[in-house]
Subunit: 121 residues, 2 copies
Amino acid sequence: MKGLVVVAHGSRRAESNEEIRALTRKLADGAGEHYRHVECAFLELAEPSIPDGLRNAISAGATEIVVLPYFLSAGRHVVTDIPEEVEKVREESPSVTIIIAPYLGAAESLGDLLLDHARQP
Amino acid sequence: MKGLVVVAHGSRRAESNEEIRALTRKLADGAGEHYRHVECAFLELAEPSIPDGLRNAISAGATEIVVLPYFLSAGRHVVTDIPEEVEKVREESPSVTIIIAPYLGAAESLGDLLLDHARQP
């Protein structure tokens, strides 16, 4: 069973974390049968942590998990911190496949989305 | 003549700023005739500043400018800081129309993009 965990930075501003949770619900609705469990997790300042988010997905039955870094640039968080957090759960649950997708800022179609978005009234 | 100014936070990491510049070149290529001038600007830590980016667009002949905040959440930068910077140039150049588009994180199609992106190999 496939799971998707959207990883955001986390904010002291509750509304920012709530935005991520709302986006995650939207992804869950859109994912249909492709991802049976969709969850968000935060690097810091909000819950669940990345390991806890992954553990939630595994408890729900996920055996293949895609981690999607909701970040715009490939800074230390993307390059080092997220992989380190993910590694903890890989060691705990070696039978689960966990793939870290490229961060959002690297998405091929982001340019097209921005142009469309800029044209909205 | 329409211009587009992508506004990012700016980073101490030169590669992150370069990512924005590369994205901006991609947008310029994709914009075709719709935006005749596409530029990036930074809230802090990199150049050009938001007012300078807008001034560059105006110098190039833009009379209608869309400012696109390349931010994932509606924190203080999006709500307060970017509008304040834009206002400086509105006062300088009242004949130019400057519209601030919703920030990237509010883009309607971001959920679909994320799902597609997560499915890439």
